[in-house]
């Protein structure tokens, strides 16, 4: 590491991922390098099936790499067991999914409360209510996911991801299921919250408008990342 450079919040070194499919062995990621600094917003673009979501999962420790190293918040993930990785994510890493992944049996407020309570945060109720207010959904706090529109569900998911004040937030196609206008609103929210929290944001997207607004844009090609102008 070069002196003066900040310690990256997420880093991949010579990362490889291979799977065995019906057509034989398939290389998804090959010798991939990535470095995300604190407070930085990085967009990863790429064709469908290029391995973007797989990379995101590996960076967040949701899956195991075949080779290489993954670092998250200063810890080497491939040297931690599953529980160690979960403990590392707890309260320090946020995640936003394309299909929202809200828990259907919990209402909006309870969905936001869950990570706060799991990480043992102080005053979880107040922080959950603030997070919902920040995404403009205070009035719908008692609604269940099935009673909310797609855009509203994604706002609840963003509130859930930001409420514990994570150091890094991974977002997988966060506007993929939303219309243009709602997508714009979600992008604003994500970037505003990133600024307010001073956290890093790694997002996978097809959406060039969303990518434009990030600090850096990388393209996934043949299992590696290339910087875009």
């Amino acid at each position: 590491m070069t002196v003066g450079e900040p310690e990256p919040v997420s880093r991949a070194v010579a990362l490889g991922k291979h799977v065995n499919g019906p057509a034989g062995a398939l290389t998804i990621l090959n010798d991939l390098e990535l470095r995300v600094n604190p407070g930085e917003a990085v967009a990863i673009l790429g064709a469908s099936g290029s391995g973007k979501s797989t990379l995101l999962g590996l960076l967040a420790g949701l899956d195991d790499a075949t080779s290489g190293e993954v670092w998250l918040c200063g810890e080497r993930l491939d040297q931690l067991d599953e529980d160690g990785r979960a403990a590392l994510r707890n309260g320090r890493v946020g995640f936003v999914f394309q299909n929202f992944q809200l828990l259907p049996t919990l209402n909006a407020r309870e969905n936001v409360l869950l990570p706060l309570e799991l990480s043992g945060a102080t005053e979880p109720e107040r922080r959950a209510e603030e997070a919902l207010e920040r995404v403009g959904l205070s009035a719908r706090a008692r609604h269940f996911p099935r009673q909310l529109s797609g855009g509203e569900q994604q706002r609840v998911a963003i509130a859930r991801a930001w409420a514990p004040r994570p150091e890094v937030l991974f977002a997988d196609e966060p506007t993929g299921n939303l219309d243009h206008e709602t997508g714009e609103h979600i992008i604003d929210l994500l970037l505003d919250l990133k600024r307010e929290a001073g956290a890093a944001l790694v997002l996978v997207t097809h959406d060039p408008r969303l990518a434009e607004r990030c600090d850096r844009r990388l393209a996934m090609r043949a299992g590696r990342l290339e910087a875009l102008a």
């Binding site: 949701l62 899956d63 599953e82 994510r89 707890n90 299909n99 259907p104 049996t105 869950l114 799991l118």
Partner: protein, 829 residues
Amino acid sequence: MSAWRLALRLLRQDWRSGELSLLAAALVLTVAAVSAVGFFSDRIERALAREGSALIAADLAIESGTPLPAFWRAEAEARGLETSALVEFRSVVLADGRPQLVRVKAVEGGYPLRGRLRLRAAPEAPEASAEGPPAPGELWVESRLLHLLDQPLGAMLGLGEARLRLGAILSHEPDAGATFFNLAPRVLMNGADLDATGLLGAASRATHRLLIAGEPGALADYRRWLEARLTPGVELRDAASARPEFATAVERATRFLHLATLATLLVAGAAMALASHRLVERQTEAVAIMRCLGMRRHLLLRLFALRLLFLALGASLLGVALGWLAQFGLVALLAEGFGAALPAPSLAPLVAGVVTGLALLLGFALPPLPRLARVSPLRALRGDLGAPPASMWLTLGLALAVFAGLIWWRAGEFALAWKLLLGLLGAGLALLAVVGVLLWIAARLAREARGLARLALAGLTRRPGLALLQIGGFGLGILALLLLAVVRLDLLESWRETLPEEAPNHFLLNIQPHEVEPLKDWLRTQGLGEVELYPMISGRLTGIAERAIEPSDYPDARAQRLAAREFNLSYSERPQADNRILEGRWWTDAGAEPAFSVERELAETLGIRLGDRLTFEVNGRSLSAPVTSLREVQWDSFNVNFFVIGSPALLGAEPATFLTSIHLDARAEALLPELVRRFPSLTLLDVEALIDEVRAVIERGVLAVESVFLLTLAAGLLVMIAGIQASLEQRRAEHGVLRTLGVGRRALLGALALEFAIAGALAGLLAVIFAELIGWMLAVQLFELPFSLNPWLWLGGILGSALAVGAAGTAATYPLLVQPPLQTLRRAH
């Protein structure tokens, strides 16, 4: 493309995707269990019936006081049935000029058609089976006749004008029990010697019996033919009517078996309901897409119904095949118990298995289908829109209706069907109520809970349908296990205890009034304890409700015989312990009022109602009193019992002889010669062999029922697996999200174990309550056995269920935890 072909293609796709495996497994196991039970109980019932047949030495016996028409026999033989005729009469044998009253049975070759005669070559020699009846010129006799005549084997006895040799000691005569109160020693002779004795003239009092045996179908046809030609005074006897004590045992065994089948059916049905529920949940998205693509509702429903029909047919046939194989296992286990080989199974259970599979599909798997018809096409766009809720009434109603139909069909007993159904309905409603209360409590707790605990409670309270299915499913699985325990420990034990080791095996009859106290004293000094002696008075029934009766008033042969014969009346201050008052009341004040108490079946046969005035002719005088109670008598207790009992005020002053029944073990039997010497007028009747037969039926019945309940247990396990599977989809998504949020595997595992253990404990509690209720209902209502609560069942049921469901649920869900969260999330959507 026709709906049939499309359905078949979709079925193949479903099958490849593994969507149907649980439902198919439930169906195969259900049908396998039901048909294994079917094949097996078919064989056992036939074996039991065969043993019953041994007790009348035939499958069917025709009995009359006059010779039977020859063409009846010819007809039976023309139909390919075996026949053998016999005559029974009272006579006197002479040895050295000493006469002895005996009961003679003259039989033909071929006798007995069912069962075996057993002989001893000397009083202490071992028993050996005899091939056929005595040779002409020979008599086989009960051992007490040797004592009474003081003659050795080989001696010549006079019978009428013939002299016959004492050939062997008759130790077992299969149909001896058919005439239970024969006090005279029995003598068996060859029918060929009958003419030589010159004893039977045209007007002689004798019982003529034609024994018939053969293939059940031909037998049933012949019986129908015969019943149309029966003349008054002719009576038909079959295995069931041969002897009430044996019939009771067989009836109980059959009921237990049917019950075990029904329990398997119900539990497996629940497994199918759970599997079908899961299938519908998983098909919702595909259906929404098909609806979007323009498929109409009725075609959609038809496609699903056809797919399930094909599945059910395939699974049922496979299940029947497996059931057929499984029954060999059961038979191998039990072959020893039945001594001889069981009869081969009939094909009826095959049809029954397939029909049961289809019926189960209709009752348990189809009800969730209409939900699919109501899936909104919008679901294709909004993946979070769940499947529409099931109609509770349709689901419950159809399941109950099908189950009722199956009970009625399989058990063939309407009374059993409605009782069970009422019980089930009650259990279902109680289950709803109990789960409702539990969910209400859980909802309260959820408000205070945090994190994982809140999530677990929310999972329960906000999906009450699933919680109900799951806890209900677990409950049913545990219930199957506990029922096995209740039936095994309590009911079967009670059944055994109706015939305890100390059941009376000797009857002492003809005790004179002056011998009552000396006999009691003597029995006491011999260590046989306090023995109660019952008075017995002969009387002939002459009137019911002020109306004179004649045998010819009754069309029924049994009623005619009862109306014609002398009744053995008794009197008593208290009812006997094995009698139960069904209607009216037993007399108070030591029976100061003249009154009668009548056994229920006798009352039904003769048309006697409570309050009717009965008139008996006793010792040449008419005695009249109202019937103040109707009783049920446990005939298989081997205690002395009476059809008609009078109050002491009515009969206490009549001259009577006394009788009693006692238990003598092998050691005490040595007392018998001394007993006979001291009380020479007393008649001794040994019923040990009869008791052994009834006890054998009970033991085999218990073994069979236990084996059948093991299948119920397998169905119970399947319900539990289905119950766990039902929530797997929901858990997959939840676990993915939770682990992304940073919850460790160990914490999730702990939460899972706790959640399943709590569900298990609740299910265990429900199961124990219902097991005890069902046990009580079965014991008291159906089997007429005593019942008591079992504290170990409560402790073991609740703790065991918590442990078992906790361990099974955690083990089944564990694979979700081993997968990396990314895979879990991807599979969930």
